[in-house]
Amino acid sequence: MSEPAKRKSLFQRHENLRVLSIFIGFVIIIVLLQLITEGTNRFPTFISPVNLLNILQQVGVPGIVAIGMTIVMISGGIDLSVGMLASLVSIVTATGISKWHIGVVPSILAGIMTAVVLETIMGYIISRTKVEPFIITLGGMITFQGMALLLCNSREVIMNRELDFLKVNLIQGARDPFNHLSLIIPPYVLIFFLIALLGGLLLNYTKYGRRVYAVGTSPQAAYLAGINVQNMKLSVYIIMGFLVGIGAVMLLARVNTGIITLGQGLEIDSIAMVVIGGTALKGGKGNIVGTLIGVFFLGSIGNAMNMLRLPSEVQFVAKGLVVIIAVSAGDVSTRISGFLSRRKELRWRAEQRAAKGESVESTK
């Protein structure tokens, strides 16, 4: 007589299913709303290929940053500076190209290196002191903003389309079968997927990934298991710096202008994407697939609001609500399944007791 194996709910076994199902529910609602308001004779624009690719273009850069943020947050950290760091990188790169004339590739490298070096400094402080990463990176955010403004004299740096090679359409000539608009996939969308893939492999299939999770779960236990906790914490910020650098260059390619507002809100968006995807703020929990769902979910909200012709202000309300619902849904569902499994176990115990009682009586 063995105890019944504790059956876990589907959502518990596959953590990403929960947020995925909320996402799918959201898509269905938007599509239904479109069908109702625009009639059934037209294919719903929200899920038309051209719009889906459009969403991909919009989320590409925040997505790259969100991959880095996932790694940082799994290790128990957070990075509020990514937005302003991206602005700084874009201004460094744009200035390099159009003012210092040091060439396109060296400028891009200078931008990325700036991000890596600054994140390394923050990571060093975070890993060697006991100060909360929240505060260090908040300080970093303000500092980077100042550095960026100093560098561009509070003006925008306009380029001469030198980075356009990063947004060429890779599928030139392809057309949407429903509305015959041309489809666009720029290189940075592919880079985003490549980075997501690498990030996923790193976290799941390497010694490094195991250690990131261990450090985020319990730094003391990780230390006693022979992990250099300080260097692990430092390394996640270096990775973050590299990804912010790449993301910022992509962003610059899209708008062709280095400007302080470029990275504004990037930290909020990327953190929101990561937490929607199920990564815990206290570390140790989360994965790249969840983050990808979070990226697409958050990215499609604004787009859906546009499709429904709702004012853009509503977007913020919707985004905020999605974050709250996606994150609290986990707790609510755990509570419900916990309650159900407890009840089941109690019933099983009672049955066992009853059965035992009977057998005792029968032997008498």
Partner: protein, 532 residues
């Protein structure tokens, strides 16, 4: 209780301290007049039992406390002293049939009532407001208020008065967080005097104090006692018990063994009372042939440990005994590299090694099963497979790891150690204490370690799992490995160890051979008789 006088419209907690004290003074004189026959008795407990699921912590204890006396409580770790204190402070309710008389009247204690009757407990770990001043700490929650305004001058006057009475140089404005443990204890005692407490319970008050501070504190306790309070004093240090105690009650395994007047009592009698366990609580372990020296500590200093030297041989268990706070776990951290070695040498297989971090210790085939399983031993939200494989990453060269291999390793240990779970994909948090401990063991077995440090190997584990863990330890010895075992569980130390080192205040007091290992010897050395 006395009539509460409210001052000012908004003063909910404004029943001012001095008035309350005055009330109680009045009440006490009337009470004393009523029962002048046994006027000096503050507390009388009889028939106190306390059972927790599966454990009888206290059995039919009786205890009493008089005015102006220090009544000491003695006993080994786990004898039931803490449980008794928690009943007195109202934190635990005793089982049915218990009777508690406070000044002759039956009471049912809860934390609030205990406080308002005037029973104050000063725990080993301080619960203080570190950022507030001494004065603010004393009056926290019972500030003297007049028309809604704090009467700081009055509060300072009272604080100064009491500190002067206690001959303490503390300033009322010093920040509590800046004081050391001894200063904080004095503040809490001062609080007891200001609010005219009737009884003060001190749990191991001298645990982390220097000898000068201890002298000072004992003098203060003497003063307080002479002012008419009753004091319950718990200490592992027999010198203190003999210095300030009037009576002593000895507990063992939740039972009251004896009660003595200190006058005329000898230390030997007291120790005899504290030992003498039921032999059935001992585990019979298989002995293994002992091999060559594998680990050696030479005058190791650091993290509180002082000049510790010992050797460890293959196939043997070296027990480390001592009272709580004797610096045993601290020493283990130094040996494992998770605390700094100030000076001294550690040798493994005859070669001097430097453990500047645990990673190096693991490479040198050391394993450390920590005392705090949940926080430093396990990654609770992670699966058994992940927990088991994490430490061995130190020894793996490959950058890429495969979940399937991890699962195989995990499943192998689940089977080998009989961890009660379907497979290694269960998360550690869902396991019972005994099974969690097995996961910790598996984590270290997977590193192919040779030298095992077990810090409280069976803390909080049920009897069945205990036996299994003992068996696993003996199996390790059979494979030629060596074990250092820190334990506060006396039967465990005695039945498992081949040799025992007894520690006190970070120092090695004695090293006992197999023949010398006895409860009496261990206890004698751990409460302070240095081997000559």
């Amino acid at each position: 209780m006395g009539v509460k006088i409210r001052q000012g419209p908004g003063g909910a907690s404004a029943s001012s301290a001095c008035y309350r004290a005055a009330d109680r003074e009045g009440e006490r004189t009337t009470a004393n007049r009523e029962r002048f026959n046994f006027m000096s008795e503050i507390l009388r407990l009889s028939n106190i039992s306390k059972t927790f699921p599966g454990v009888v912590a206290l059995q039919n204890i009786s205890f009493d406390l008089n005015e102006g006396e220090v009544h000491c409580l003695c006993g080994e770790n786990g004898a039931g002293k803490s449980t008794l204190i928690k009943i007195l402070s109202g934190a635990y309710q005793p089982d049915e049939g218990a009777e508690i008389l406070f000044e002759g009247k039956p009471v049912v204690l809860n934390p609030h009532l205990a406080m308002s009757l005037g029973i104050q407990t000063i725990y080993q770990e301080h619960v203080v407001f570190e950022t507030l001043s001494v004065m603010e700490n004393i009056f926290a929650g019972a500030e003297i208020v007049k028309r809604g305004f704090l009467q700081k001058a009055e509060m300072r006057r009272q604080t100064l008065g009491v500190l002067k009475y206690l001959k303490s140089g503390l300033s009322p404005d010093a920040k509590m967080g800046d004081l050391n443990s001894s200063g904080q204890k004095i503040v809490e005692i001062a609080k007891g005097l200001i609010f005219k407490r009737r009884a003060i319970i001190l749990d191991e008050p001298t645990a982390s104090l220097s000898s000068v501070e201890i002298e000072n504190l004992l003098d203060i306790i003497e003063t307080v006692k002479n002012s008419g309070l009753g004091i319950i004093y718990i200490s592992h240090h027999l010198e203190e018990v003999f210095k300030i105690g009037d009576r002593v009650t000895v507990l063992r395994d939740g039972r009251k063994v004896s009660q003595h007047e200190i006058a005329g009592l000898t230390k030997t009698t007291l120790i005899k009372d504290m030992v003498g366990r039921d032999p059935s609580t001992f585990y019979r372990r298989e002995k293994v042939p002992i091999g060559e020296v594998v680990f050696e500590a030479r005058e190791v200093n650091g993290n509180g440990a002082r000049d510790i030297s010992f050797t460890l041989r293959r196939g043997e268990i070296l027990g480390i005994a001592g009272m709580a706070g004797s610096g045993r776990s601290e020493l283990m951290n130094v040996l494992f590299g998770s605390a700094r070695l100030d000076f001294g040498e550690i040798l493994i297989n005859g070669k001097v090694v430097k453990h500047s971090n645990p990673e190096k210790a693991i490479r040198n085939k050391m394993c450390f099963i920590t005392e705090d399983r949940q926080n430093t031993g396990l990654f609770l939200p992670q699966t058994i497979a992940q927990n088991v494989t994490i430490a061995n990453l130190v020894n793996t060269r490959e950058f890429v790891v495969h979940s399937r291999d991890d699962a195989e390793t995990g499943d192998k240990f689940v089977k080998q150690l009989a961890i009660k779970t379907p497979n290694s994909q269960t998360r550690a948090v869902e396991l019972s204490g005994g099974n969690q401990q097995k996961v910790v063991l598996a984590k270290w077995f997977n590193t192919n370690g040779e030298i095992f440090i077990f810090d409280e190997p069976t803390l909080g584990i049920d009897v069945g799992s205990k036996q299994e863990i003992y068996k696993v330890m003996v199996d390790l010895l059979k494979q030629g490995k060596a074990i250092i075992m820190v334990s506060s569980d006396m039967p465990e130390v005695i039945s498992m160890s081949d040799r025992v080192i007894v520690m006190k205040n970070g120092e090695k007091m004695a090293e006992l051979t197999t023949e010398e290992i006895s409860e009496e010897n261990i206890l004698t050395y751990s409460i302070g008789h240095k081997e000559i």
